[in-house]
C-alpha cells in the first residue's frame, strides 16, 4: 500500500469510518499474525491475539499522532499483547485472557499452520535433501525458542518482519545500541545451540 493511501485510510479510520479500517487490516494482518505466531507457537492464540491487536488499534487510533510509522505503532501493540499473554501464561491463566475464544467452527475452519518455512524450498527437490532441510529447520526453531524473550522479540522483528533497528528500538522503548546487542546475543546463542559452523553446514 502506498504511504499516501495508507495515511488517507488512517485519517478516515481515526474519524470512525470502519470501511477505511478494512484495507489496513488486509495490509498488516499477516505480518502481525506471523510475529505473534513466532512468539506464541500456537495458531489459535496467534489468531485471537491478532484480532485483539487490531481491535485495540481501532480503539486507540484517535490517539495515534503519527510520531512513528503506523507499522511501528501497530507492532508496539502486538508486542504488548504477546508480553501480556506471556505473563498470564506463566501463571497458567493465558486461556482466560483473550477477548473471546474461537468457536469450534472457527478452529476447524483453519488450515494448519506449518511454522516458519525456508523460502527457497523446492517441492520438486530431492526427498532426502528435503528431509534434511526439515530437520535443520526444526533445529533452528528450537534454537530460536530457547532465546530469552527480549532477544527472541528482536530477532523475530528484524529477521522475519524486516523492521529496521530504529523501528525496533522505537517500539520496544530502548536504545538502538541495545537492539544491536540483543541481536548479537540472539545470533550468538543460536550459533552455539546449532553447534557452530561445522555442524550447520
Amino acid at each position: 500500500m502506498e504511504p499516501v493511501e495508507e495515511q488517507r485510510l488512517i485519517e478516515r479510520a481515526r474519524k470512525g469510518e470502519a470501511d477505511a479500517f478494512g484495507p489496513i487490516i488486509t495490509a498488516y494482518q499477516r505480518k502481525v499474525f506471523n510475529f505473534i505466531m513466532g512468539m506464541t507457537h500456537d495458531p489459535t492464540i496467534a489468531d485471537e491475539l491478532t484480532q485483539e491487536v487490531f481491535l485495540k488499534a481501532w480503539t486507540a487510533l484517535p490517539r495515534f499522532r503519527g510520531e512513528s510509522q503506523f507499522q511501528t505503532w501497530l507492532f508496539q501493540i502486538a508486542l504488548n499483547a504477546t508480553r501480556s499473554w506471556g505473563r498470564w501464561k506463566k501463571i497458567g491463566l493465558a486461556r482466560f485472557v483473550s477477548l473471546s475464544g474461537p468457536t469450534e467452527a472457527e478452529v476447524s475452519d483453519k488450515t494448519e499452520y506449518q511454522g516458519p518455512q525456508v523460502a527457497d524450498r523446492d517441492p520438486g527437490a530431492d526427498p532426502a535433501r528435503q528431509t534434511e532441510s526439515a530437520a535443520l529447520q526444526a533445529q533452528l526453531s528450537r534454537a530460536i525458542e530457547q532465546l530469552p524473550p527480549r532477544e527472541k522479540e528482536v530477532f523475530h522483528l528484524r529477521h522475519y518482519e524486516d523492521l529496521s533497528l530504529k523501528e525496533i528500538a522505537q517500539l520496544m522503548g530502548i536504545a538502538e545500541g541495545s537492539v544491536k546487542a540483543h541481536l548479537f546475543h540472539a545470533l550468538e546463542k543460536m550459533r552455539k545451540f546449532l553447534g557452530g559452523p561445522s555442524d550447520v553446514l
Partner: protein, 143 residues
Amino acid sequence: MSCESWGPLLAAEIYGDNSEADQRALKEHLLACAPCRTQLESWHAALSMAGSKSNQLDESFWIRQKASILAQLPERSSGGWLVRGRWLAPTLVMGLVVMTGWGLHRQSVRRDLPIAQNMDMLQNMDMLSHLDVLEAMDQTEAQ
C-alpha cells in the same frame, strides 16, 4: 577493542543496518580478525536456514479473520474518550477532589452561619444605632 565489543556491529552488518562509518571500521577489523570473520560466516549459514517466514495458511483464513475483526469493531462516539481508557481514572479522581472540596467549603460556611445571621438581624432591625441607649439602660439597671 576486543572481539566481543564488535559483536553488535557484526549482528547489524548481517542485515546491512550499520552506518557508513561503522561499516568502514568493521571492514578494517574483519580484514585483521579471523575469529570475527568465522563468526559472521557461521551466522550467515545459520540464517540461510531460517529463510523468510511464509506460512501456508489458506486465503480463507485471512478473509475470515478480517471479517471477524470488522464485526467486533466498537462504535466510536465523540464523548467516548471521557469514559474510556486513560481518561477514566483521572476523571474520577478529579471528580472526587472537586466533591470533597465542595463538601468542606459547605461545612465551613454552615459553621459561620449563626454569627452572620445575628449580624443580619441586627442590621435589619436597625438596632445598631440604638446600641448606646441599650447599654446605658443596662448600666442603670445594674446600679
